[in-house]
Symmetry: C2
Subunit: 198 residues, 2 copies
Protein backbone atom coordinates (compact mmCIF):
# COMPACT_ATOMS: atom_id res chain seq x y z
CA UNK A 1 0.00 0.00 0.00
CA UNK A 2 1.44 3.35 -1.01
CA UNK A 3 1.38 6.37 1.31
CA UNK A 4 -1.41 7.90 -0.78
CA UNK A 5 -3.48 4.75 -0.50
CA UNK A 6 -2.85 4.57 3.22
CA UNK A 7 -3.96 8.17 3.72
CA UNK A 8 -7.05 7.49 1.60
CA UNK A 9 -7.89 4.43 3.66
CA UNK A 10 -7.39 6.39 6.89
CA UNK A 11 -9.72 9.12 5.65
CA UNK A 12 -12.28 6.54 4.54
CA UNK A 13 -12.22 4.86 7.95
CA UNK A 14 -12.48 8.22 9.74
CA UNK A 15 -15.51 9.16 7.61
CA UNK A 16 -17.28 5.84 8.25
CA UNK A 17 -16.57 6.05 11.98
CA UNK A 18 -17.83 9.64 12.10
CA UNK A 19 -21.02 8.71 10.22
CA UNK A 20 -21.61 5.77 12.55
CA UNK A 21 -21.04 7.86 15.68
CA UNK A 22 -23.28 10.72 14.53
CA UNK A 23 -26.07 8.29 13.64
CA UNK A 24 -25.81 6.78 17.12
CA UNK A 25 -26.08 10.20 18.74
CA UNK A 26 -28.46 12.13 16.51
CA UNK A 27 -30.13 9.53 14.32
CA UNK A 28 -30.18 9.48 10.54
CA UNK A 29 -32.29 12.65 10.43
CA UNK A 30 -29.70 14.55 12.45
CA UNK A 31 -26.74 13.55 10.28
CA UNK A 32 -25.39 15.91 7.64
CA UNK A 33 -22.44 15.51 5.27
CA UNK A 34 -21.04 18.72 6.82
CA UNK A 35 -21.23 17.12 10.28
CA UNK A 36 -19.50 13.95 9.11
CA UNK A 37 -16.76 15.95 7.35
CA UNK A 38 -16.17 18.08 10.43
CA UNK A 39 -16.00 15.13 12.80
CA UNK A 40 -13.77 13.10 10.47
CA UNK A 41 -11.46 16.06 9.87
CA UNK A 42 -11.86 15.96 6.09
CA UNK A 43 -13.38 18.27 3.48
CA UNK A 44 -16.90 17.68 2.17
CA UNK A 45 -15.36 17.13 -1.27
CA UNK A 46 -13.50 14.09 0.05
CA UNK A 47 -16.80 12.53 1.09
CA UNK A 48 -18.55 13.36 -2.17
CA UNK A 49 -15.62 11.90 -4.11
CA UNK A 50 -16.41 8.45 -2.65
CA UNK A 51 -20.12 8.57 -1.84
CA UNK A 52 -22.99 10.00 -3.87
CA UNK A 53 -25.36 10.72 -0.97
CA UNK A 54 -25.83 10.77 2.78
CA UNK A 55 -27.65 7.42 2.59
CA UNK A 56 -24.74 5.61 0.92
CA UNK A 57 -22.25 6.84 3.54
CA UNK A 58 -24.50 5.78 6.40
CA UNK A 59 -25.20 2.35 4.89
CA UNK A 60 -21.46 1.83 4.38
CA UNK A 61 -20.85 2.93 7.96
CA UNK A 62 -23.50 0.51 9.21
CA UNK A 63 -22.27 -2.46 7.15
CA UNK A 64 -18.62 -1.69 7.92
CA UNK A 65 -19.30 -1.63 11.68
CA UNK A 66 -21.44 -4.73 11.47
CA UNK A 67 -18.80 -6.73 9.64
CA UNK A 68 -19.47 -10.27 8.47
CA UNK A 69 -22.01 -11.08 11.22
CA UNK A 70 -24.87 -10.42 8.80
CA UNK A 71 -23.99 -13.60 6.95
CA UNK A 72 -24.91 -16.93 8.55
CA UNK A 73 -23.34 -19.82 6.62
CA UNK A 74 -25.51 -22.94 6.27
CA UNK A 75 -24.66 -26.02 8.32
CA UNK A 76 -26.72 -28.49 6.31
CA UNK A 77 -29.67 -29.03 8.65
CA UNK A 78 -32.29 -27.05 6.73
CA UNK A 79 -34.62 -26.09 9.55
CA UNK A 80 -31.74 -25.34 11.90
CA UNK A 81 -30.22 -23.13 9.18
CA UNK A 82 -33.47 -21.15 8.92
CA UNK A 83 -33.64 -20.91 12.69
CA UNK A 84 -30.10 -19.55 12.79
CA UNK A 85 -30.96 -16.95 10.16
CA UNK A 86 -33.85 -15.79 12.33
CA UNK A 87 -31.74 -15.82 15.50
CA UNK A 88 -29.17 -13.72 13.65
CA UNK A 89 -31.82 -11.15 12.65
CA UNK A 90 -33.21 -11.10 16.20
CA UNK A 91 -29.70 -10.59 17.59
CA UNK A 92 -29.16 -7.72 15.17
CA UNK A 93 -32.48 -6.05 16.05
CA UNK A 94 -31.75 -6.49 19.76
CA UNK A 95 -28.18 -5.20 19.59
CA UNK A 96 -27.88 -1.98 21.62
CA UNK A 97 -26.12 -0.08 18.83
CA UNK A 98 -26.95 -1.85 15.57
CA UNK A 99 -30.63 -2.52 16.36
CA UNK A 100 -31.77 1.09 16.83
CA UNK A 101 -29.59 2.21 13.90
CA UNK A 102 -31.13 -0.43 11.63
CA UNK A 103 -34.66 0.56 12.74
CA UNK A 104 -33.75 4.20 12.15
CA UNK A 105 -32.47 3.38 8.64
CA UNK A 106 -35.65 1.47 7.80
CA UNK A 107 -37.58 4.42 9.17
CA UNK A 108 -35.63 6.94 7.11
CA UNK A 109 -35.99 5.01 3.86
CA UNK A 110 -39.78 5.42 4.05
CA UNK A 111 -39.32 8.94 2.71
CA UNK A 112 -35.88 8.69 1.08
CA UNK A 113 -36.05 6.87 -2.24
CA UNK A 114 -32.28 6.84 -2.79
CA UNK A 115 -31.69 5.27 0.62
CA UNK A 116 -34.55 2.83 -0.01
CA UNK A 117 -33.02 1.63 -3.28
CA UNK A 118 -29.60 1.30 -1.69
CA UNK A 119 -30.97 -0.56 1.31
CA UNK A 120 -32.91 -2.96 -0.93
CA UNK A 121 -29.87 -3.75 -3.00
CA UNK A 122 -27.22 -3.98 -0.30
CA UNK A 123 -29.03 -5.21 2.82
CA UNK A 124 -32.46 -6.55 2.15
CA UNK A 125 -32.07 -8.53 -1.09
CA UNK A 126 -28.97 -10.54 -0.09
CA UNK A 127 -30.68 -11.62 3.15
CA UNK A 128 -33.91 -12.33 1.29
CA UNK A 129 -32.10 -14.44 -1.29
CA UNK A 130 -30.38 -16.43 1.44
CA UNK A 131 -33.71 -17.00 3.19
CA UNK A 132 -35.69 -18.09 0.15
CA UNK A 133 -32.89 -20.48 -0.84
CA UNK A 134 -33.02 -22.01 2.62
CA UNK A 135 -36.80 -22.29 2.46
CA UNK A 136 -36.56 -24.00 -0.93
CA UNK A 137 -33.97 -26.47 0.35
CA UNK A 138 -36.11 -27.17 3.43
CA UNK A 139 -39.14 -27.74 1.16
CA UNK A 140 -37.16 -30.06 -1.11
CA UNK A 141 -36.04 -32.04 1.92
CA UNK A 142 -39.62 -32.32 3.20
CA UNK A 143 -38.76 -30.50 6.42
CA UNK A 144 -41.36 -27.83 5.65
CA UNK A 145 -44.26 -28.37 3.30
CA UNK A 146 -44.32 -27.01 -0.22
CA UNK A 147 -44.99 -23.25 0.04
CA UNK A 148 -44.06 -20.15 -1.91
CA UNK A 149 -40.60 -19.28 -0.58
CA UNK A 150 -41.32 -15.54 -0.46
CA UNK A 151 -44.50 -16.07 1.54
CA UNK A 152 -42.64 -18.38 3.94
CA UNK A 153 -39.89 -15.78 4.34
CA UNK A 154 -42.51 -13.12 5.20
CA UNK A 155 -44.14 -15.44 7.74
CA UNK A 156 -40.80 -16.19 9.39
CA UNK A 157 -39.25 -12.71 9.44
CA UNK A 158 -42.38 -10.52 9.54
CA UNK A 159 -43.14 -11.02 13.25
CA UNK A 160 -39.56 -10.12 14.24
CA UNK A 161 -39.61 -6.82 12.37
CA UNK A 162 -43.14 -6.11 13.56
CA UNK A 163 -41.96 -6.47 17.16
CA UNK A 164 -38.95 -4.25 16.57
CA UNK A 165 -40.53 -1.48 14.46
CA UNK A 166 -44.15 -1.32 15.63
CA UNK A 167 -44.00 -2.53 19.22
CA UNK A 168 -40.41 -1.39 19.70
CA UNK A 169 -39.62 -4.55 21.61
CA UNK A 170 -36.64 -6.18 19.88
CA UNK A 171 -37.27 -9.91 19.53
CA UNK A 172 -35.45 -12.34 21.83
CA UNK A 173 -34.07 -15.74 20.86
CA UNK A 174 -36.90 -17.38 22.80
CA UNK A 175 -39.41 -15.32 20.86
CA UNK A 176 -37.88 -16.55 17.57
CA UNK A 177 -38.31 -20.14 18.73
CA UNK A 178 -41.95 -19.47 19.68
CA UNK A 179 -42.58 -18.01 16.22
CA UNK A 180 -40.99 -20.97 14.43
CA UNK A 181 -42.78 -23.55 16.57
CA UNK A 182 -46.15 -21.80 16.08
CA UNK A 183 -45.56 -21.51 12.33
CA UNK A 184 -44.65 -25.18 11.96
CA UNK A 185 -47.66 -26.33 13.89
CA UNK A 186 -50.13 -23.87 12.31
CA UNK A 187 -53.03 -22.03 13.91
CA UNK A 188 -55.93 -24.23 12.81
CA UNK A 189 -58.31 -25.16 15.61
CA UNK A 190 -60.68 -28.03 16.10
CA UNK A 191 -63.52 -26.45 14.08
CA UNK A 192 -61.72 -25.67 10.84
CA UNK A 193 -64.90 -25.13 8.81
CA UNK A 194 -65.72 -21.86 10.56
CA UNK A 195 -64.83 -18.42 9.30
CA UNK A 196 -63.94 -18.81 5.66
CA UNK A 197 -63.33 -16.02 3.21
CA UNK A 198 -66.08 -13.50 2.78
CA UNK B 1 -71.92 26.64 18.85
CA UNK B 2 -70.86 30.21 19.63
CA UNK B 3 -68.95 32.34 17.14
CA UNK B 4 -65.76 31.87 19.19
CA UNK B 5 -66.19 28.12 19.19
CA UNK B 6 -66.87 28.15 15.46
CA UNK B 7 -63.70 30.16 14.78
CA UNK B 8 -61.72 27.78 17.01
CA UNK B 9 -63.07 24.78 15.16
CA UNK B 10 -62.27 26.39 11.81
CA UNK B 11 -58.71 27.08 12.94
CA UNK B 12 -58.37 23.53 14.25
CA UNK B 13 -59.54 22.07 10.95
CA UNK B 14 -57.25 24.38 8.97
CA UNK B 15 -54.27 23.29 11.09
CA UNK B 16 -55.04 19.58 10.71
CA UNK B 17 -55.53 19.95 6.95
CA UNK B 18 -52.28 21.90 6.63
CA UNK B 19 -50.38 19.27 8.64
CA UNK B 20 -51.86 16.48 6.52
CA UNK B 21 -51.02 18.25 3.25
CA UNK B 22 -47.47 19.10 4.27
CA UNK B 23 -46.86 15.50 5.37
CA UNK B 24 -48.10 14.29 1.99
CA UNK B 25 -45.74 16.64 0.16
CA UNK B 26 -42.62 16.73 2.32
CA UNK B 27 -42.93 13.82 4.70
CA UNK B 28 -42.84 14.00 8.48
CA UNK B 29 -39.19 15.07 8.44
CA UNK B 30 -40.02 18.07 6.24
CA UNK B 31 -42.89 19.31 8.41
CA UNK B 32 -42.36 22.17 10.87
CA UNK B 33 -44.82 23.90 13.19
CA UNK B 34 -43.90 27.14 11.39
CA UNK B 35 -44.84 25.60 8.07
CA UNK B 36 -48.17 24.34 9.40
CA UNK B 37 -48.98 27.72 10.96
CA UNK B 38 -48.14 29.55 7.75
CA UNK B 39 -50.19 27.25 5.55
CA UNK B 40 -53.16 27.25 7.95
CA UNK B 41 -53.01 31.04 8.33
CA UNK B 42 -52.70 30.94 12.13
CA UNK B 43 -50.00 31.91 14.61
CA UNK B 44 -47.62 29.28 16.03
CA UNK B 45 -49.10 30.05 19.45
CA UNK B 46 -52.50 28.82 18.29
CA UNK B 47 -50.98 25.46 17.43
CA UNK B 48 -49.03 25.18 20.67
CA UNK B 49 -52.19 26.03 22.63
CA UNK B 50 -53.80 22.80 21.43
CA UNK B 51 -50.89 20.50 20.67
CA UNK B 52 -47.72 19.88 22.66
CA UNK B 53 -45.50 18.74 19.78
CA UNK B 54 -45.19 18.24 16.06
CA UNK B 55 -45.91 14.53 16.50
CA UNK B 56 -49.27 15.09 18.20
CA UNK B 57 -50.48 17.46 15.45
CA UNK B 58 -49.49 15.04 12.73
CA UNK B 59 -51.09 12.07 14.45
CA UNK B 60 -54.30 14.07 14.92
CA UNK B 61 -54.16 15.09 11.26
CA UNK B 62 -53.69 11.47 10.23
CA UNK B 63 -56.47 10.09 12.44
CA UNK B 64 -58.82 12.96 11.55
CA UNK B 65 -58.35 12.35 7.81
CA UNK B 66 -58.66 8.61 8.27
CA UNK B 67 -61.93 8.88 10.15
CA UNK B 68 -63.61 5.78 11.55
CA UNK B 69 -62.23 3.39 8.90
CA UNK B 70 -59.57 2.23 11.34
CA UNK B 71 -62.24 0.45 13.36
CA UNK B 72 -63.71 -2.78 12.01
CA UNK B 73 -66.73 -3.87 14.06
CA UNK B 74 -67.03 -7.61 14.68
CA UNK B 75 -69.70 -9.57 12.84
CA UNK B 76 -69.65 -12.66 15.03
CA UNK B 77 -67.77 -15.10 12.80
CA UNK B 78 -64.46 -15.13 14.64
CA UNK B 79 -62.10 -16.06 11.84
CA UNK B 80 -63.91 -13.80 9.36
CA UNK B 81 -63.59 -10.96 11.91
CA UNK B 82 -59.83 -11.51 12.12
CA UNK B 83 -59.63 -11.69 8.34
CA UNK B 84 -61.50 -8.38 8.07
CA UNK B 85 -59.11 -6.75 10.55
CA UNK B 86 -56.20 -7.87 8.38
CA UNK B 87 -57.90 -6.74 5.18
CA UNK B 88 -58.50 -3.37 6.82
CA UNK B 89 -54.81 -3.02 7.71
CA UNK B 90 -53.79 -4.10 4.20
CA UNK B 91 -56.20 -1.54 2.69
CA UNK B 92 -54.72 1.15 4.92
CA UNK B 93 -51.12 0.24 4.02
CA UNK B 94 -52.06 0.13 0.32
CA UNK B 95 -53.99 3.42 0.33
CA UNK B 96 -52.21 5.96 -1.91
CA UNK B 97 -52.28 8.72 0.71
CA UNK B 98 -52.68 7.02 4.10
CA UNK B 99 -50.30 4.13 3.43
CA UNK B 100 -47.13 6.14 2.75
CA UNK B 101 -48.02 8.56 5.56
CA UNK B 102 -48.46 5.70 8.03
CA UNK B 103 -45.15 4.14 6.93
CA UNK B 104 -43.51 7.55 7.27
CA UNK B 105 -44.94 7.96 10.80
CA UNK B 106 -43.69 4.51 11.84
CA UNK B 107 -40.35 5.47 10.32
CA UNK B 108 -40.18 8.76 12.17
CA UNK B 109 -41.07 7.27 15.56
CA UNK B 110 -37.90 5.15 15.42
CA UNK B 111 -35.97 8.23 16.51
CA UNK B 112 -38.75 10.33 18.07
CA UNK B 113 -39.70 9.04 21.50
CA UNK B 114 -42.62 11.46 21.98
CA UNK B 115 -44.14 10.41 18.67
CA UNK B 116 -43.48 6.76 19.50
CA UNK B 117 -45.35 7.01 22.81
CA UNK B 118 -48.24 8.84 21.18
CA UNK B 119 -48.43 6.35 18.33
CA UNK B 120 -48.42 3.42 20.76
CA UNK B 121 -51.22 4.87 22.81
CA UNK B 122 -53.47 6.21 20.06
CA UNK B 123 -52.92 3.92 17.08
CA UNK B 124 -51.11 0.75 17.92
CA UNK B 125 -52.62 -0.31 21.25
CA UNK B 126 -56.31 0.08 20.31
CA UNK B 127 -55.75 -2.05 17.18
CA UNK B 128 -53.68 -4.53 19.16
CA UNK B 129 -56.35 -4.85 21.82
CA UNK B 130 -59.02 -5.45 19.20
CA UNK B 131 -56.85 -8.10 17.55
CA UNK B 132 -55.97 -10.00 20.70
CA UNK B 133 -59.61 -10.00 21.78
CA UNK B 134 -60.58 -11.48 18.43
CA UNK B 135 -57.84 -14.10 18.69
CA UNK B 136 -59.04 -15.04 22.18
CA UNK B 137 -62.63 -15.37 21.01
CA UNK B 138 -61.51 -17.47 18.03
CA UNK B 139 -59.49 -19.68 20.40
CA UNK B 140 -62.43 -20.04 22.78
CA UNK B 141 -64.65 -21.05 19.85
CA UNK B 142 -62.09 -23.63 18.68
CA UNK B 143 -61.65 -21.87 15.33
CA UNK B 144 -57.95 -21.44 15.99
CA UNK B 145 -56.00 -23.57 18.42
CA UNK B 146 -54.99 -22.33 21.84
CA UNK B 147 -52.10 -19.91 21.38
CA UNK B 148 -50.79 -16.81 23.08
CA UNK B 149 -52.93 -14.02 21.63
CA UNK B 150 -50.00 -11.62 21.28
CA UNK B 151 -47.93 -14.18 19.40
CA UNK B 152 -50.88 -14.92 17.11
CA UNK B 153 -51.35 -11.19 16.47
CA UNK B 154 -47.66 -10.88 15.51
CA UNK B 155 -47.93 -13.86 13.16
CA UNK B 156 -51.03 -12.40 11.49
CA UNK B 157 -49.99 -8.76 11.18
CA UNK B 158 -46.21 -9.08 11.02
CA UNK B 159 -46.02 -10.19 7.37
CA UNK B 160 -48.23 -7.27 6.24
CA UNK B 161 -46.05 -4.67 7.90
CA UNK B 162 -42.89 -6.45 6.76
CA UNK B 163 -44.12 -6.21 3.15
CA UNK B 164 -45.00 -2.54 3.52
CA UNK B 165 -41.98 -1.29 5.48
CA UNK B 166 -39.11 -3.55 4.40
CA UNK B 167 -40.09 -4.63 0.90
CA UNK B 168 -42.10 -1.47 0.26
CA UNK B 169 -44.80 -3.52 -1.47
CA UNK B 170 -48.09 -2.75 0.29
CA UNK B 171 -49.98 -6.00 0.89
CA UNK B 172 -52.99 -6.85 -1.29
CA UNK B 173 -56.21 -8.52 -0.14
CA UNK B 174 -55.11 -11.71 -1.89
CA UNK B 175 -51.82 -11.59 -0.02
CA UNK B 176 -53.69 -11.34 3.29
CA UNK B 177 -55.68 -14.45 2.38
CA UNK B 178 -52.48 -16.32 1.47
CA UNK B 179 -50.99 -15.37 4.84
CA UNK B 180 -54.06 -16.53 6.77
CA UNK B 181 -54.36 -19.78 4.85
CA UNK B 182 -50.65 -20.55 5.29
CA UNK B 183 -50.85 -19.72 9.02
CA UNK B 184 -53.88 -21.92 9.60
CA UNK B 185 -52.32 -24.85 7.82
CA UNK B 186 -48.83 -24.45 9.27
CA UNK B 187 -45.46 -25.00 7.64
CA UNK B 188 -44.62 -28.46 8.95
CA UNK B 189 -43.44 -30.88 6.28
CA UNK B 190 -43.44 -34.62 6.04
CA UNK B 191 -40.21 -35.09 8.01
CA UNK B 192 -41.02 -33.15 11.18
CA UNK B 193 -38.16 -34.63 13.18
CA UNK B 194 -35.50 -32.73 11.27
CA UNK B 195 -33.95 -29.44 12.27
CA UNK B 196 -34.84 -28.97 15.90
CA UNK B 197 -33.46 -26.29 18.17
CA UNK B 198 -29.74 -26.09 18.48
Amino acid sequence: MTAVHRRSEQARQAILQAAFDICQQKGYAGLTIEGVASRAGVGKQTIYRWWSSKGTVVLDAFLDALGPTIDVPPAGDHLADLRRSLHSTADLLSHPRYGPMLADLVGALQHDEALAADFQQRVYEPIRRQTTERVERACAAGVIRHIDANLAADLLFGPLWFRALLMRQPPSTDYVDEVIDALLRGLAGSTPGAGGRE
